[in-house]
């Protein structure tokens, strides 16, 4: 099973959309709140090369924004 991490903030609509999409496809994932966890924020910026949320990490592959096609491809949906 792929390791999935969603980097998000509480107020971010796209973050909730990403989480909703993963839930509807029965994908287990962890959430890291980058506005509350500085280490997670640094990790996201370093790995994705940018600061905006959401970012989805799927087995280390960083997908910026809610990019359904890329998420589907990475998870084989």
């Amino acid at each position: 099973m792929a390791e999935v991490i969603v980097y998000s903030t509480d107020s971010c609509p796209w973050c909730r959309k990403v989480e909703e999409y993963l839930q509807m496809n029965n994908i287990n994932f962890d959430v890291k709140k980058v506005d509350q966890d500085r280490e997670a924020a640094m990790e996201m910026v370093q790995a994705s090369g940018q600061q905006g949320v959401p970012v989805v990490s799927i087995d280390g592959k960083m997908i910026v924004g809610f990019n359904k096609a890329e998420i589907d491809k990475a998870l084989g949906l």
Binding site: T9, S11, P13, W14, C15, R16, E20, D35, G52, V53
Partner: protein, 310 residues
């Protein structure tokens, strides 16, 4: 994989117009599916909505979730699938998604609209590194910093108000002589001490080294065409998402919006449209839901008077 049962209606788009349609389609006992890449639509980006009757002072995304929950209660099924192709047959339509194919007697198009790009050098280069499109998502990055919002609409004013809660200084940069936000919002903007409006000015370039550091204006501001900014939020209007509708001959106006009559019928029999994708002048949450309900009613009438199951 084609779903063999012939649906009464397929609603394309899960924003408020789509939910309004789904709610009524469900109550009319229509066999219906909502197909959408994501849910909520443009209301997701409204920080606080305070003009939806009965539900005052609510975050846009929460309002969308409430209406979704209510709409789906009556039986419409929501599938997070992206519609790729529409095809008109003799007395039904084929709707192909990235996951499946559906056959339906009617279609309700509620695809909404997406944000326009500003189209300046640097916009793509600094995306996520100083250039953003969603204040409620990324405002937290700019605590104590200086940011700009490009645009003069209600939505741009709301973005500025969200940013003003975090940033030290917020500039609204607008190409005309006065932002056109509704009076209540305009008043709030004017009362917010860390928001300043720069009128009659366009941004012509975003510049920096690895991340945004300043923008170039087409007019001098405080004696300079360079305005130092840590962040720039772009909110310069929307483009209606009509590509799919166009493939089955649905007519649009000069702004690329679907032309509907007062009951949300398009020029194509069996195809209805609702919400921000249409030529309705007053694009609001309340009008989107209402349009969705009318489209569902007309689809219901159409199914009961014009089609025979094939």
């Amino acid at each position: 994989m084609t779903q063999n049962n012939l649906l009464d209606t397929v609603i394309i788009g899960a924003g408020l117009a789509g939910y309004g349609a789904a709610l009524y389609a469900g109550r009319f006992k229509m066999n219906s599916v909502i197909l959408s890449r994501d849910t909520g639509g443009t209301i997701n980006w409204a920080h606080i909505v305070d003009n939806y009757p009965g539900i005052p002072n609510i975050e846009g995304i929460d309002l969308a979730d409430k209406i979704k929950e209510h709409a789906l209660k009556f039986g419409a099924e929501l599938k997070l699938e992206e519609v790729e192709n529409l095809q008109k047959e003799d007395n039904y339509f084929k709707v192909k998604t990235d996951k499946s194919e559906y056959l339906t007697k009617t279609i309700i198009i509620a695809t909404g609209r997406e944000r326009k790009k500003l189209g300046i050098p640097g916009e793509e280069e600094f995306q996520g590194n100083g250039v953003h499109t969603c204040a409620v998502c990324d405002a937290f990055l700019y605590k104590g910093k200086t940011v700009g919002v490009v645009g003069g609409s209600d939505s741009a004013a709301k973005e500025a108000l969200v940013l003003a809660e975090h940033a030290k200084k917020v500039y609204i940069i607008y190409r005309k002589d006065k932002i056109r936000a509704e009076p209540t919002l305009y008043e709030k903007v004017m009362e917010t001490s860390n928001i300043e409006i720069i009128n009659n000015t366009n941004i012509i370039q975003a510049k920096g080294d690895g991340r945004l550091s300043h923008v170039i204006l087409d007019n001098q501001y405080n004696g300079s065409e360079e305005l130092p900014l840590d962040g720039l939020f772009i909110d310069v209007g929307y483009v209606p998402l009509t590509e799919l509708a166009r493939t089955i001959g649905v007519e649009e106006n000069e702004n690329g919006e679907i032309i509907v009559d007062k009951m949300n019928c398009t020029n194509v029999r069996g195809v209805f449209a609702a919400g921000d994708v249409t030529d309705i002048e007053f694009k609001q949450a309340i009008t989107a839901v209402a349009q969705g309900s009318k489209a569902a009613y007309m689809a219901f009438k159409y199914v009961n008077t014009n089609t025979k199951p094939s």
